[in-house]
Subunit: 213 residues, 2 copies
DNA sequence: ATATTAAGTGGACGAAGATTCCGTTTACTG
DNA sequence: CAGTAAACGGAATCTTCGTCCACTTAATAT
């Protein structure tokens, strides 16, 4: 996938950042366009990072990523001031897919089935994207003030499917989306999780979630 | 496997590694007793670590702990070859308390109440001992082969209260102690957990856990 | 007491990684 | 083509982990 869906790029003005200006020149008009080599390097770094993360896990060093991308450390840090920025760039597409899946589930399925199916998608996703969830968790742990876009996007999806089920009267109303994300996300980032175990636990959580008839 | 019941609280032994020469070796006969300064330093390091962890959180450096204990880095590493060994030593008492609480709950309460109460204790404990759970999780993530005694002790407690309820027919039988620990522990190590949220989620988990009448 | 000796000590040291700094290069613009 | 700001890259710095080893000391033997 080289040219992916044009993700609505945001002004990117959260703290310190403005790092992930994704190659596309926003026609502000007042300043120069983004240089072509910068665009190219940005892309190469993301690709290299994806490869290295897949290969070495989440303890890959920044310099090794820079080296594989064929750029210097300074260049990497110019584009991604913090490690988490790079991680977010790598997994942006996946997160977007999850969010879209939540929306289609809500649109196409009955409320309870939408909730169940999307949680199941999330679970299967987690099993493959442990690196991402781990990194996310760790940066958030280190600095809870940090607003992580991908995190918020996922939280929105949790809220979407849950509130949809709550409005339909099939899910208990004393918990909210971030509660549920804490529970399911926490279990999915557990280092010991294996496939069948996740399904068992998810079934139990769904039983606890369903409104008692 | 039977495990030796640790009668004394502060024998100067090493954890981890392969040398599981545990506790006060009674009649090895051939070697010297533990030197008094070694014993003293062991204790001072644990005390210093407790203070530093409480003060700086889990990202406290080993050298800063060594310095506060008034010993060199080498001494610290002699006593605690890995960071997790130190963490376990610091929180050993707390873990033991939890385990004892599980046993008394099972002894003194009805099965379901024992399960509920102990999970609640675990939750309240987690809120205060975030450092411990985080460290535990991280070392386990880095090396899943590692056998961590405190982790096993907690897992045993989960299994105890759960299986007790299952035998009494009040808890679903398709999950086991480590499943439950993954779920509840995962949620408790979440960086965003706050008091009321934990209680809400725990109530839900208990609903999902209770056998449907 | 004193000598012996193995265990214990502490800080210097090297590896490794994160992040910054800055002289040089390069792609746009006029 | 020249001017310029942006981007580059890698050397330099900083921090922490963990090891090593020459020296010290407490327990034991004499």
């Amino acid at each position: 996938m080289l040219r992916d869906v044009t993700i609505p790029l945001e002004p990117a003005e959260h703290l310190g950042g403005s790092a992930t200006n994704d190659g596309v020149d926003g026609d502000d008009g007042s300043h120069r366009a983004v240089r072509s080599d910068a665009q190219r390097n940005h892309h190469r770094i993301v690709v290299a990072a994806r490869e290295v993360f897949a290969l070495q896990g989440s303890d890959a060093s920044m310099v090794s990523i820079a080296h594989r991308a064929g750029v210097g450390a300074g260049t990497l840090y110019r584009h991604f001031p913090h490690r988490i920025d790079l991680v977010e760039a790598v997994y942006r597409v996946d997160v977007e897919e999850l969010a879209v899946a939540a929306e289609s589930a809500v649109r196409d399925l009955a409320p309870w089935e939408a909730l169940r199916d999307w949680l199941d998608s999330f679970l299967r996703y987690s099993l493959g994207k442990r690196v991402f969830l781990t990194e996310l968790r760790e940066s958030f742990e280190k600095n809870p003030e940090l607003k992580l876009r991908s995190r918020e996007r996922v939280e929105q999806s949790f809220a979407l499917v849950l509130e949809n089920a709550q409005r339909a009267g099939v899910a208990r109303t004393d918990i909210d989306g971030s509660d549920l994300m804490l529970l399911v996300g926490g279990m999915c980032t557990g280092p010991t999780l294996v496939g069948a175990q996740g399904e068992r636990l998810l079934a139990m959580v769904l039983d606890g979630l369903r409104v008692t008839p």
